[in-house]
């Protein structure tokens, strides 16, 4: 399900800013710069994001224009990876380890510093062997008419795409408004000035 097939869900944005004359080469380079990169072998919990091809989320190279630029459209996706540990299992495991530590040391309570160290060690071990949750959101940018559709209605995804888009291209994504369909300012002002109509019968 996405922009190329299946049911289409689309939030539309206006693209605001100047497109460089040699945009093909400039954008190829910028997409490459902000493409998804597999992290070095670090166990971090932080989310990792970057642009990928829509054909395959493992393909983060934009060198071949024919794979993502279909004049006037650019088609690519934001991939967001996040590792999540089962919180209840982590808590229980930490408590077990603390109890074991207390027994070994012959003390009743495990100091906070030790507990934190145990927790960080377990998190580190688990994160190394945990696969991330991977979310991919496709977008299609009409570069001629300067609008973009995002295949998601999630506010948080939209915020991330807008931020990364700005970092990558130096262009702003402004949510498109139904009021943009109105042909004159008076209608826009009129609609913005209305009070709710009494559509239900009086009780």
């Amino acid at each position: 399900m996405g922009i190329l097939s299946g049911a289409l869900t689309a939030r539309r944005f206006k693209v605001v800013g100047d497109v460089p004359e040699a945009f093909r080469d400039v954008y190829r380079e910028q997409l490459g710069q902000f493409a998804f990169r597999d992290p070095p072998n670090e166990p971090g919990k932080a989310e990792i994001e970057g642009w990928v091809q829509t054909h395959n989320l493992l393909d983060a190279s934009f060198d071949d224009l024919n794979r993502w630029l279909y004049d006037p459209y650019a088609l690519f996706a934001l991939r967001i990876d996040k590792k999540v540990l089962p919180a209840n299992l982590l808590k229980a495991t930490v408590e077990k380890e603390c109890t074991k530590w207390c027994a070994e040391k012959g003390v009743e309570r495990c100091p906070n510093a030790v507990k934190t160290e145990i927790k960080e060690r377990i998190e580190d071990e688990w994160l190394r062997r945990t696969l991330p949750k991977v979310r991919v959101t496709e977008l299609c940018w009409n570069m001629r008419d300067q609008w973009l559709v995002l295949h998601s209605l999630s506010e948080s995804v939209a915020d991330r795409v807008r931020k990364r888009f700005h970092q990558t291209f130096g262009l702003r994504l402004v949510p498109w408004s139904p009021l943009d369909w109105m042909s004159d300012e008076a209608t826009v002002e009129g609609l913005l000035g209305t009070m709710p109509a009494a559509m239900q019968e009086a009780k």
Binding site: I3, L4, S5, A7, L8, T9, A10, R11, R12, K14, Y70, Y73, L75, C140, N142, V149, L153, V174, P175, W176, S177, P178, L179, D180, W181, M182, S183, D184, E185, T187, V188, G190, L191, L192, T194, M195, P196, A197, A198, M199, Q200, E201
Partner: protein, 175 residues
């Protein structure tokens, strides 16, 4: 034409959805929108979602075939709820579309497009053309609503007619 990104006022979006629902009934599903759009056939299909006027959360959802004709949908209206999402089926020439309009931004969701080409660049061109076609029609419908909403007819004719329609169809649905 709008201040950057400003959606419709929530009550205006709900009134637009209700006006569409009422207009479908009044016009036997046929809309002559003139200009580039021409004539389309439109009806409510599979899903109607309601909310309380002062909240954003959906509180009632009608699904199934022609949810607009159900007693529950009329009861939701009578209970003071307003339409938040509307799933529509549209026929334009020989092309059939089904899509949901959601909330005050009129976001397009779960749009089934009459795609003729699968795979590759041609599929993208085809899908974007069809997406633009839906946007063109929804824009024309909103323009027609806006003309009516801002005219003297709105308070004098349309609102009483929608009230009467809502009451009559509820009584009819109740048997």
């Amino acid at each position: 034409m709008s201040p950057d990104g400003l959606p419709l006022l929530p009550h205006v979006a709900s009134e637009f959805y209700l006006w569409l629902w009422w207009s479908i009934d009044q016009r036997d599903a046929v809309f002559d929108l003139g200009g580039k759009v021409g004539t389309i056939t439109l009806w409510v299909e599979e899903r109607l979602a309601f909310r309380h006027p002062n909240e954003t959360k959906i509180t009632a959802v009608m699904t199934g075939d022609r949810p607009d004709e159900t007693l529950e949908a009329r009861a939701a209206l009578a209970g003071g709820k307003v339409v938040q999402d509307l799933r529509l089926h549209m026929r334009r020439d020989d092309r059939e579309f089904t899509f949901t309009l959601k909330g005050a931004a009129l976001d397009l969701a779960q749009a089934k497009l009459p795609q003729a080409v699968a795979g590759g660049a041609e599929a993208l061109y085809d899908r974007m053309f069809l997406y633009e076609e839906v946007a063109l029609v929804v824009g024309a419908l909103l323009q027609e609503f806006a003309r009516e909403r801002l005219s003297d007819r709105w308070d004098a004719v349309v609102v009483p007619a929608i009230r009467d329609w809502s009451l009559a169809s509820r009584l009819e649905a109740a048997g």
